[in-house]
Amino acid sequence: MALQHAQDYLRNAMMPHIWCPGCGHGIILGAILRAISKAGLDQDKTVIVSGIGCSSRASGYMDFDTLHTTHGRALAFATGVKMAKPELNVIVIMGDGDCSAIGGNHFIHACRRNIDLTAVVFNNSIYGMTSGQYSPLTPRGKFATTAPYGTIEREFDLCDLAIAAGASYVGRGTTFHAQLLTDLIVKGIANKGFSLIEGISQCPTYYGRKNKMGGPIDMMKWQQEHSVNAVAATKMTPEQLDGKFKIGELHNSPAPEYIAEYDKIIAARRA
């Protein structure tokens, strides 16, 4: 199948999108579309499921069967879609608050089951849709409208959480490292099991402004300067890694997939 151009997967009737100028989400959306194209997925057999928030509007812009669900519940809806029709490719788009706060329980259990879904989390460290509250992925000490004196909460490392909970493929990219992000999503789609790709994104409107990080270009430069390739990180000391985050493939450990296991029960029962 010939590779389709990413734009061919957009719903023009849904434009203009709601994202602010300088928002990183369009870059992650582009990475997903390029990954779908590279992976050769059938457009009519691919379902995009999203939750609620800025990032979750992406589903509406994508020309597939798309499901824009309730806040935090995208993975639970996606589990139903995939279990009822496992031949569909299911990609789940969530934001940082959507996935790790209100949807945190669904997230760890989707990882634990190792159900064949590819989750892409748009992590801009803030609730953008509700104009700038801190999320479980907002780094400690950073500012938000609900953390006017700096947040005292410790943040999750979403990738570590996914690995601990049993996800079989985990990777992290950024909007600065867009090509890496595409490659990670391709691998996530190829993995028969639960895959998490965390995409670090910039929110200049709220997170950047609240934390005096400059404009979108400055924020992307920050991503470049504070990220370390996962392979390189293995040779670095804790001091060298302080204040940095790892990008690249963080975990690749194939494991029995949930529906494949379930279907063994069906086969045995119907034999």
């Binding site: 509406g60 639970a76 139903g80 879609v81």
Partner: protein, 377 residues
């Protein structure tokens, strides 16, 4: 000894599962909660045998979400719960109503509020089943009084859900759910209704295009129609809109598609009402106590009758109005502090007297209590 039997002893929750599978249910997502757990257990055992799939989700909210996702692929889907679990499902029930995704939610009512008396019966979710989620939305709620009726109404719930593209709630109670009784198998033969699917091409298909009281054909995910499903108010294409005329059209159509088909949706049973001065209006397990009381009142020469709404929502308003014009008094016994009575008062209060018998102690209202009231009024 394999004898072909014409009758079986069956539990209410078991009848619910058998009715669901016979109606074509092939996906179930649930979370353990008394007194509905047997439904999940039996689904876990039965579904793989018919090629369906069961999942015990991490919570009630996820269970409701999963059945909506499954239904979007064209798979008939159900969840079951009780009390606190029903409260948790509400947001996603509203989602299913707005997005018009057929699904069945069983609520085996138990005492509340909160954890309440977890193993005891109640009927405290009458209003929650109608108004539990935010916003104006249509809903169909059916309530069985016996084990065989549980089978038939579960089946019917799927049929109505498919026909009207709407969530249907089967409002059981602990007594009916856990009771075992004789079920005559020949009474269980019913025909399956499936959702209408589009026949036009992708370019011409509008997933939410219908007459002001109509239901549009529904494409399965994976069939090439590439639809958008969103909990935002949407236009005929399914895309978000805030245009006043589109918002108004959608929300009114959702209500009209049920309200303009009441002849099809409303079910009720009448017993000895024709010449009755006193009507007992009762549903679910309490209707059995009411039947007993009415029967004995008649033996005592008192003109009593029983009206049993099987469809609780929409409420059978016309039938109750007609009764209220002839009767002097309507007694509404229910295992709550008067939820359905509010509706009866609204409909009949200006035409005849309405009073309630209300119990919240976690026990089925006894026939004697109803009989006493009949003799008093």
């Amino acid at each position: 000894m394999a004898v072909e039997r014409s009758a079986r002893l069956m539990q209410g929750n078991e009848a619910c599962v058998e009715g669901a599978i016979a109606a074509g249910c092939r996906f179930y997502a649930g979370y353990p909660i008394t007194p509905s757990t047997e439904i999940a257990e039996l689904m876990a055992a039965s579904l793989p045998c018919v090629g369906g799939r069961f999942i015990q989700m991490e919570d009630e909210i996820a269970s409701m979400a999963a059945i909506i996702g499954a239904s979007l692929t064209g798979t008939k889907s159900m969840t079951a719960t009780s009390g606190p679990g029903f409260s948790l499902k509400q947001e996603n029930i509203g989602y299913a109503a707005l997005t018009e995704v057929p699904c069945v939610i069983v609520n085996v009512q138990r005492s509340g509020p909160s954890t309440g008396l977890p193993t005891s019966p109640a009927q405290g979710d009458v209003m929650q089943s109608r108004w539990g989620t935010h916003g104006d939305h249509p809903i169909i709620v059916l309530s069985p009084s016996s084990v065989s009726e549980t089978y038939r109404l579960t089946f019917e719930s799927f049929n109505l859900a498919e026909k009207y593209r709407n969530p249907v709630i089967l409002l059981m109670d602990e007594v009916v759910g856990h009771m075992r009784e004789r079920v005559d198998l020949h009474s269980l033969s019913m025909s399956v209704v499936d959702r209408v699917k589009p026949t036009n091409k992708r370019e011409d298909y509008l997933p939410y295009d219908a007459a002001p009281d109509g239901v549009s054909p529904m494409a399965n995910f994976g069939d090439g129609y590439r639809c958008h499903v969103t909990g935002l108010i949407h236009n005929k294409k399914g895309y978000p809109t805030s245009k006043a005329e589109e918002v108004d059209f959608l929300i009114r159509r959702l209500h009209n598609k049920i309200d303009h088909n009441l002849d099809d949706v409303l079910k009720y049973e009448e017993y000895m009402v024709d010449d009755a001065d006193i009507i007992v209006l009762a549903f679910g397990s309490v209707a059995r106590s009411a039947h007993n009381a009415v029967r004995r009142a008649r033996q005592n020469g008192v003109k009593a009758g029983l009206f049993r709404p099987i469809t609780i929502w929409p409420f059978p308003e016309a039938a109750v109005t007609a009764l209220a014009q002839k009767a002097k008094h309507i007694i509404v016994p229910e295992m709550n502090l008067g939820q359905l009575r509010l509706e009866v008062e609204r409909v009949a209060g200006s035409r005849c007297q309405v009073s309630g018998i209300n119990s919240i102690i976690g026990e089925l209202i006894a026939p004697d209590q109803i009989l006493r009231r009949i003799m008093e009024v």
